[in-house]
Subunit: 315 residues, 6 copies
């Protein structure tokens, strides 16, 4: 079995297939060309250097290309760096695919679909249910594969659906504890809150922002889409405005991208559940990489904090 890059230590040599995520050309201070590659397999990412490159090397090494390489892992400025000694592009006979090299949600697409469907079944308000169903139909394919973000939390294949399904689970339990809440409104808000990202982000593997994403952002884009969809379905009434409000306000504050703060109870709760799931996703993944008694690396989206993993265990 081939070892992964994430489990190879500094000082060891490495051999295997890797996916190119990004490429930057450079010249050394002596004027020699080289490439800096960002490579990944399922176990992690690494920066790699290919020295003394030829024109042909530059033609081969492009984003989303898979290469087979041999090299050794050094430390450069405190970080691991792979020095490529030899490589070739992958061939059809290698039977390796882009999907083999990207991180995925810990839950399969089928299960995510099932849980989404289940939640929609629970909904009883016909207007909200129709709107949600229409969006699920429209975006079914992308919704099941897109990440929830380019970085920070749920930034992996099916990350968006994973985020939605986790939030629905929290919402279901919270609704039992606080039955005053309108579960249908909360469910609809959760399912739709980040769908605008399907148009804000460019794709799954090497995700960037679309022009619309940069100039408008996923929140106003989704508010508009709900308006258009309601018009298409000939739905009118307060539900539409309030659902748009949930999307608009789910970042909680103007500074964070919501021109209106939550002004409906379920909007406030949507914001809190979103925070809760995103933060647990970030903390759990960072903590899984360190040993008890250690601190995680600093997490930008957690106010740049570094978390401690206690030594004592729950027994």
């Amino acid at each position: 079995m081939i070892k992964g890059i994430g489990t190879t230590a500094i000082g060891e040599s490495f051999e295997g297939y890797m996916l190119i995520k990004d490429v930057i050309k450079g010249v050394t201070s002596n004027g020699k060309p080289f490439l800096t590659l960002m490579l990944r397999d399922k176990t992690g990412e690494i920066e790699a250097k290919l020295w003394d490159t030829t024109k042909e090397d530059e033609t081969v090494c492009v984003p989303e290309q898979i290469i087979k390489l041999a090299g050794e892992i050094n430390q450069f400025r405190g970080k691991a760096q792979l020095k490529i000694l030899s490589f070739r592009p992958s061939q059809p006979t290698d039977d390796v695919h882009v999907s083999d090299f990207v991180e995925k949600a810990p839950i399969e697409k089928e299960e995510l679909t099932e849980k989404l469907t289940e939640a929609i079944f629970e909904m009883q308000n016909p207007t909200l249910q129709r709107l949600v169903r229409a969006f699920i139909r429209k975006y079914q394919e992308d919704l099941l594969v897109y990440p929830a973000a380019t970085k920070n939390h749920h930034e992996y294949v099916s990350g968006l659906a994973h985020h939605i399904v986790s939030m629905l689970a929290i919402a279901r339990e919270l609704h039992k504890l606080y039955p005053e809440m309108n579960k249908d409104l909360l469910y609809a808000g959760i399912i739709l809150h980040d769908l605008g990202k399907l148009k804000e982000l460019s794709g799954i593997v090497t995700t960037s922002y679309t022009l619309e994403g940069k100039l408008l952002g996923h929140i106003p884009m989704m508010v508009e889409e709900i308006g258009l969809m309601a018009k298409d379905l000939q739905i009118e009434g307060e539900e539409v405005t309030i659902l748009q409000h949930l999307i608009l306000s789910h970042h909680g504050k103007a500074e964070w991208g919501s021109p209106k703060p939550p002004l409906v109870r379920e909007a406030e709760v949507l914001h809190l559940i979103d925070l809760m799931d995103a933060k647990l996703n970030m903390m759990n993944r960072a903590l899984s990489k360190v040993k008890p008694g250690e601190f995680t690396e600093r997490m930008f989206a957690m106010d740049n904090r570094s978390f401690y993993k206690p030594i004592f265990e729950e027994k």
Copy 2:
């Protein structure tokens, strides 16, 4: 000729027609009922007290009712206050109308229409021109009478159109000085930037916020409307996104209600022209009420500043 309320001094008596803007019921510490009325005529506003009111008084005195009254102006906690001695509701034979009691833009509707039309004629980009024309057609009636806001700047009948027309004049001159700018885009942004207020605000005389206005706000509402209008007109392309961006970003900063800051030159200039015209409108009106050597009252929307009117004059 009947003297106006704005030109009657403290200590004097007043007689004339006034429009009721707002009514609050109260009881004195001795348990006697009274009404606090906010009254206005074309020359200004005043708080009035009607003591020892009857049930009938309460039925007559409602917002948008015109009354004929006699009273005297006292000072209460540093502000002028009208004590109503006698009054009666206006009658058809009085030939007085709500429109006689509200402040209006210093330019007539006809001239505003003409200047708007002129600007649209100057536009050469067919996509932007079609979109602008379609909105002018849709909102023609309201656009010519709505205020630009409930308070602060251009808060009078036709205030919105007055604001747009002034901004267009600045834009025309700026474009001559900086011809790199896209005039069509700037004009389209100026004409549409605040049209969302026609749905955010409830009306002209006693203006308040609609539910949609409170939960979504005029900026996301207008972004959505442009999307819907473009779809109706079967317009596609970058112009639509960029025009939506101009609307979305025209408050300049997330904290001020724009989820994206201006990222297109004309968006930045739209924001600056909007500031320039709004601030000049506020300052000019406040300064027109004080004498040289005095300071104006504090203006909330100008960071609570009070402006000084110099004594020396431009000759």
Copy 3:
């Protein structure tokens, strides 16, 4: 059955027993003495005026005294105000008690005790369990009756225990969804996080801050108490420090009173659950007082927002 003050409309007369919460002496502009009383029964609070008071009135009307009164409800500056026409102090034969006049948690003390005990039984880490048990023993009596705060959320009898029990329920469900969390640590943090309030606040009915509360605050006081308790129980080890950290950081940010932000996963989650339960408590109670289609009063602790209650219902 005697009607409550919270259900008597402006303009009606009222007769019944009420508890005095606060008393301020004043003189009218004519130099006549009067009392402003803050009164409450189980249905609500009201400001009351007792005009032309005698020395004897002032001796009788003191905080925590119950009086029987007759009066009428007027409106003064937009708020209901009770004008007392006659009153007498309650007598033993009236069989009325302070506890009859204060708001209580919607769950009985017995049930709260049971739920607390249940949670402690679930805990498996002996160190954390011993510490928690010791505190429950020490503060058993106060813990079951104190409010969680003087205002904003859970500001009623048994409010603190109610808050703890609700948070434990959220934690239990969250732990099922995110089993990586250390449940024992989270439970211990929830049960102890606000116990410092038992020394920060002066009591149950007319709650104010103690000198220690004003100069140190409940957070540092509780951190110290955990240290003292651990020493008494001869407990050492990381659990104590980390539990102190959970208490110290549970307000989330230095500006909000936590000198250290959460740096342990369960500390972050404790902070989020605390927010969630406090906010739902505030929103639910405010929304229960308005009708669909209306906005609640502004809530200071919710960033001064006013929440909308939608008209459509979950069916």
Copy 4:
């Protein structure tokens, strides 16, 4: 004709005259001395490396020296870098001058002078006019060549005069649209607002801050100068104080260096026109360097934004 540095691509060789703006000595990790030079010609700037330098090289290569060089352009860390292969200092017979190597305003000094004079002629208030004339006389020479800043906007030869002249043009048109404004005061404020920079900055080519500039800043220095000038001219009266106020407040806010915010209408307008011209100068120059469909580089003084250049054109 000799090609410029700004139009030579990475990978090409370059030969020509360049001006040295800055020099930093260094040693390689092997202990060999080298020089990092910042070079410029009229078409742009580039960082250059001179490897294995001799003592003599260090004597020759000093700021404001012109050299003739041959080299090749590589890429280093994503930026172009010139590797110098050979060079010699320029000689009198080369007939090259410092002024040939620096960026200049797009308008000639003669035209700038004319436009300034024209504006002063328009002024009618004798006090303000005398003050302005006196300053123009005093600083005539420097005023026509200084940049408006060391970076960000109008940071080129005659940049300050160019900025003033553009602002005067905006002011002239604004005054037509808002004739309430005092044009003389506004003109005087515009002409003098940044003259303090002539003493705050050290010179034209390799501009840095003087000690006075660092410890006092151009705003208080100019306020003082107006006071001294008025005394010399035996001018007294409100005009002097108000003109000082315009200078003092033209950055708009205390945080931005104005101890008083604008408290006179023309002071507010001066601040807005300053912003408008500075921002258009920055945006226009950045956009001129990118193609339609691209974003500019991030601009620090525009809140670190990167602007988009639309594809569709004004036709």
Copy 5:
């Protein structure tokens, strides 16, 4: 001996001479005129009401007038209020003077002069000494009587000189502990730092802001004055610039009115000593008014804090 207003309790009657600081006319809700007077004697200030006033009363009761009155002290909205029963203006034969009614520094003018002179004698740098002497000569009279502010700290006759003298004492001791400091520079900065207030404030008894004070502020005004004075004395050199910097930066931050923060050691120390003396002056005076075990009233200039006076004493 006549009792002072500051030592007369609520409920007691009062008779004596008082100085009118401020007068506001009002009408009661029944339309009767009355005056609200702010009165003071050496022991304190009180708000007073004169009911049912005549035209003559209004003529007599003007700021800086001394009246002899009889009245009684009531409580109104939690504050003491004097109800005037009878009064007459003071007459020459009463032999009472404005200076008898205003608070003064606890140190006599003679002693303040002596201490100032002493400090100047200690100075050894002739340039700084000459500048300081010139200012002392110019402002000698006002400097010894002006307050340091209109409110907050040292807001009494000779307050400015008292503040300077206290700061000099701290500086003398600090210089012994940290002899690296330049004592002359520090002394010069202390003596001049607030002299701009002599032109910013209108006078001693009923102090307000001058136009120059409002539009420029005491800091830029004093920086300018030092420049003018240096020119008059034909002094040049770094001392002048650095002394101007000390004045300019003594508020510590741009937000607090210093366009440059302290960039010279003695500038930083001047800022800290200014804070230290101002805060001790405020705290000591507030604490002198409460008993051990009590909190002072909230102090706006101390971040609205209320200070506790401990019960235990230093023995």
Copy 6:
């Protein structure tokens, strides 16, 4: 006598003993291992490079090891860097000790002890004196050697005691000028305010933060310790709470780590004296390294300011 590292210029060779403070392993871009060492002797610190290291080199070069080395000082990226040409670990016969290589307070331990003792003798309140004595006894050893911080101010051996003793001297003089202050309380606060650092920091030479330090911080840790100590000494009463308040609030603001701001006069003064001494320590040391007419390096803890050293001298 051996020259120190702090007095050897760039370009010179250096030979002598140095202490290793920190070591980082690296590889060159060619894959060769090297060590970056942070070295110090009494005269200063320098970064050093040891190229082409062996396994043995890595074993020898560890923190707190003393080595004898020969090398030369180059400039790398604008900073001095030592290139090690040869080295060996120190031997017992070299008679060199860690204490020879670290910076120390300019006052000897004996004198610091004496001054501390003297201050305690001056105290008259028996409760405060007993508490202070108990802490001095408990921490005597560490207190005399610990630094006051890991960087910024008093970051040298005996730095904490030096800081305390300087603050006591300021307090003694301030108390003479403002005798209203409680000197005993102020002394107790000064002596104890930073003692929590003895448990927050790991040691003297290569100081880092303990887990308790990271999760709780020295302020809450010391508040707790005072509580424990008072309990041990069976001391009760307001002194304990107020002393805890002084410690808790001595950073002045919540954002700076004090959950309560100073609410007792002596707490405010403690905060100001702490600032005063820390800032003078930082400024004096930075200014001692530059020549008149120069600016110091930027100081992070002084808001990143760079201070100017004037040319003129106090004579």
